[in-house]
Amino acid sequence: MELTLNHYLVLSAVLFAIGLIGVMRRKNLLMLFFATEILLNAVNVGMAAISHYRGDYTGQMFAFFIIAIAASEVAVGLGLLIVWYKRTGKIDLDQMTSMRG
């Protein structure tokens, strides 16, 4: 059996769904970051697949950009997470409620 575009897109969609569920359900901030990475990479898979399918490299280029931006985002996010952990000793989402309206 040959891998077609649809296989990649289904993989992308499944990954995205997993990431989305993770974003919605996880209470640990670290796990939330993992879920976000899954979301981003799900999109990357889709982009690369369509780019290959259409013979247009723009999609792959965008995938690279997204990887780079995701890396920097994680770097900043983990930095904040460490500071938060040092100050409170916890990384539980339910206790981060200082923005209550």
């Binding site: 989305l20 974003v23 919605m24 981060m96 309206g101």
Partner: protein
């Protein structure tokens, strides 16, 4: 000559602007003297222009372009010709006198500086009105004098009645001005120009109904400004303003603007004699109508105001019958003696501490000798006794009516002349003769400042000589522009019977007034409670009728609009929108609970909703467009 034209026109404006700078500061005589001085400069310039025009020239300047769009071209143009120079002389003479007089009259008033600013602004507007060489410039001056009239009637704005009268005058004039604007639009629509010379040269090429409508609409404008029936009620109420204002604006100049308009537009009215007859009939009606109200009124200034109204009626009779130069001549003569009468009344008011009821005065001739002489002189001139101004101008209008064979008009005007004499001398007799009734009210009268009397002197001289001396040179000058029609009664016997008869009739009326009021004033209860007396005393109930027919329903309508439409519909809609937004916020703010996890959930829901919408709309759009293709 242009420099004189500009001086005559703009020095009142300069005076007004400079005094306006001091409007809020304390009283300084400097402002009054400056404004009067600049007015005098304007007067001298007008006099020089008069000699120039008398020599047979005219001045026509185009100062600058005003409106130039497409085919519409209207310059700020000014013309000094035989008609406008007459008006300029009247305006500047009377206003100079009134300015100087006001320095004394207003000397105890807090708003002294403000008063002079308004008064000079009025003179400027009036000069624009009479000097403009097109209808739109005339309209600007027309509105300008209306505005200044409003400011000056309501000068004592803390008085409820004054502000009410000011608004009444303004609103009534707006109604008439609308008609006048329509007339001006019609002229432009049909002739493509508003310049007098172009319009008058081509007016006869228009179809008859259009000329008629133009004439009617312009005359409605004139009716408002000149307070002709049925737009007359504002003039008597305008007496709430300071007396010099009544003398200048509501007797000598502004109210005659309507007559000026008809005289100026004489080529239009010459085309439509039927409208002219209607104007003359209305004029005669107003002359009598106003004179009857003056017979019984108990307010000194209102009596003189009704007299003004009546004399304006005379002028419209002359103008309507095509005797334009006679109308303008009576306008001039009337301005002099009526201003004099008002200024005299101002002296009396000051002496009487603003008491206006002549029945509470009496015997003032001992304490106010000069005012008595001046007012008697003015009244004699108004009554038309030979050889004062009124004889030459007013009796000429009677002759016009007779020669033109409008015998009904003639009879009405003759009766009115008798009434005029009666109410004028009723006033003089009540104020200056008889018992000193004012002593009961603890008032000790004193004569006005000497310089005020000197200021009035030029008017007194003019009231005496204006008819006798000016008539011939004036006729020669003004008929270069206006139709030169001599109104002579060819039959000598008829002429003498008429002249002497009129004089005798007038003198009898005067004698009757003196007999009835000069000694003791007996109040005849039976007459006073009679129907006619009450009818006249209440001004034919017209103010009441207007109140019932127009004011009160309008008030009801306004209340309805306020309570039902504004509060219930407009306000409710606005409040409703605000409420919906507020309630939405109130209901949904719990969403913002600060929990990152739940916010992320909301975000996901939002993305899903947007996605669904995007897909749905794209699908719908494609469906519609593909079908169309």
């Amino acid at each position: 000559m242009e420099i004189y034209l500009y001086t005559a026109l703009f020095s009142p404006l300069v005076g007004s602007l400079i005094t306006a700078l001091f409007g809020a500061s304390r009283k300084t005589y400097f402002t009054g003297i400056l404004a009067s001085g600049l007015l005098f400069a304007s007067f001298v310039s007008s006099l020089i222009l008069l000699t120039y025009v008398m020599a047979g020239h005219t001045v026509h300047v185009e100062m600058m372009t005003w409106i130039a769009t497409g085919d519409l071209y209207i310059p700020f143009g000014f013309v000094v010709d035989q008609v406008s120079v007459t008006m300029m002389m009247v305006v500047t003479t009377v206003s100079t006198v009134v300015h100087i007089y006001s320095i004394g009259y207003m000397s105890h008033d807090k708003g002294f500086n403000r008063f002079f600013s308004y008064l000079s602004a009025f003179v400027f507007s009036m000069m624009v009105l009479v000097m403009s060489d097109n209808f739109l410039g005339l309209f600007i001056g027309w509105e300008g004098v209306g505005l200044c009239s409003w400011l000056l009637i309501g000068f004592w704005y803390h008085k409820e009645s004054a502000t009410w009268a000011a608004n009444e005058a303004f609103i009534m004039n707006r109604i008439a001005d609308l008609a006048m604007l329509i007339g001006i639009f019609m002229i432009y629509w049909n002739l493509g120009s508003l310049q007098y010379d172009v319009v008058f040269a081509h007016i006869s090429s228009l179809p008859m109904p259009i000329i008629t409508w133009i004439g009617i609409f312009l005359f409605i404008g004139a009716m408002g400004k000149s307070a002709q029936f049925p737009l007359h009620t504002w003039l008597a109420d305008a007496m709430e303003g300071p007396t010099p204002v009544s003398a200048l604006i509501h007797a000598a100049t502004m109210v005659t603007a309507g007559v000026y308009l008809v005289v100026r537009a004489n080529p239009i009215y010459s085309e439509i004699p039927d409208v002219g007859n209607a104007i003359a009939s209305l004029g005669a009606f107003v002359a009598m109508f106003a004179a009857t109200m003056a017979l019984v009124n108990r307010d000194m200034k209102r009596i003189i105001a009704y007299s003004t109204l009546s004399q304006l009626g005379y002028m419209f009779v002359a103008a309507g019958l095509g005797a334009y130069w006679v109308a303008l001549f009576h306008l001039m003569a009337h301005a002099f003696f009526k201003a004099l009468l008002f200024l005299g009344a101002g002296n009396v008011m000051h002496a009487m501490h603003d008491e206006l009821d002549p029945f509470k005065m009496g015997g003032l001739k001992t304490s106010m000798k000069w005012t008595w002489i001046l007012m008697t002189l003015a009244s004699v001139a108004l009554a038309g006794i030979y050889p004062l101004a009124g004889f030459f101008s007013k009796d000429l209008i009677l002759e016009v009516a007779f020669v033109e064979q409008h015998y009904i008009l003639y009879t009405v005007l003759l009766l009115t002349a008798g009434m005029t004499a009666f109410y004028s001398f009723r006033l003089v007799a009540l104020i200056f003769h008889g018992d000193k009734r004012h002593l009961e009210h603890g008032i000790h009268p004193h004569e006005a400042y000497t310089f005020m009397l000197y200021a009035m002197a030029p008017l007194a001289i003019l009231a005496v000589i204006a008819g006798m001396v000016f008539k011939t040179p004036y006729y020669q000058m003004v008929t270069q522009l206006l139709p030169a029609v001599q109104y002579h009664i060819h039959n000598h016997t008829t002429f003498w019977i008429m002249t002497i008869g009129t004089q005798l009739f007038v003198i009898l009326a005067i004698a009757y007034a003196y007999k009835k009021y000069a000694k003791a004033v007996k109040v005849d209860k039976k007459v006073e409670s009679g129907f006619f007396y009450q009818l006249l005393y209440n001004q034919y109930y017209i103010p009441k009728i207007y109140d019932e027919v127009f004011s009160k329903p309008y008030l009801q309508l306004s209340k309805l609009a306020w309570k039902q439409i504004d509060l219930r519909i407009v306000d409710a809609t606005v409040d409703g929108i605000a409420n919906i937004i507020y309630q939405t916020g109130e209901k949904t703010h719990t969403m913002q609970d600060g929990n990152l996890s739940s916010m992320l959930r909301w975000m996901v829901i939002g993305v899903v909703v947007l996605l669904v919408l995007a897909v749905a709309f794209t699908a719908g759009y494609n469906a519609v467009n593909l079908r169309a293709m």
